[in-house]
Symmetry: D2
Subunit: 80 residues, 4 copies
């Protein structure tokens, strides 16, 4: 089973890396960019057939290790 | 128009950050994890109605700035 | 003139990446690790002879773009 | 004992994040920037009195986990 976890900064938290990319795109004459946010994607190959168990494990992984829940949100998607 | 670009290491390129997360999950007793890969996700809000123009711009952004195409692949998705 | 800027999370801000590396090192039997913090290092080659001007520019770069000063500290070092 | 490990891309390896920051600084009118490289800094607090043992452990950590030695260099410094 493959899971994809997207971890991004919460609304309102400044994102200097996204800002840098935005400015860089502007200086390369991509003038149609309104905003850029950068997130982290963690792709996990999981040896687990029970989807409920997988989801509950993935939530624990995010809460205990992967995300800084003070400033970051996470989204979990089971791909197959 | 919102675009999501996923940029990950090509197959075969070592991913120390993914490896670190894998080991960390193991040491936290998540024994069902086979592998972990870490990718970057860039979310771009684009002021562009022409989807073809948007795609062609996004490809140029990846090639010229966002991805290191020697070691990374990118995938572009227009969300809305 | 070369400048090195170190940007790290402030004391008290959680560092999931550092935590992941710590757990990973433990699971690889490096049992003598007390803690791990991960920071970003930005190395800038600057065409500037006036060291005072360089420092004031570098501070502006950090404040305006490079650091998220709500959660990150920065340190600037002029190398040569 | 505190150790600081700097991990950066080898000469010649493209650095899209550094390039993005460079462009961003230019678009913010910092015209005196010649180049920008981004590195990772890992700060490890180590419970180890023997400096030789510490160094040999830190080299193993870099080789086995922290660095992708195909594209990255690392430097180890014992701070105290």
């Amino acid at each position: 089973m493959k899971a994809v976890i997207n971890i991004g900064l919460k609304e309102g938290v400044l994102d200097p890396a996204g800002k840098a990319v935005h400015h860089a795109l502007t200086s390369l004459h991509f003038s149609n960019v309104n905003s850029v946010r950068i997130a982290k994607q963690i792709i996990i190959d999981l040896d687990e057939n029970d989807e409920q168990k997988a989801k509950s494990d993935l939530i624990k992984m995010c809460e205990e290790l992967l995300a800084n829940t003070v400033i970051e949100n996470y989204e979990i998607e089971i791909v197959k």
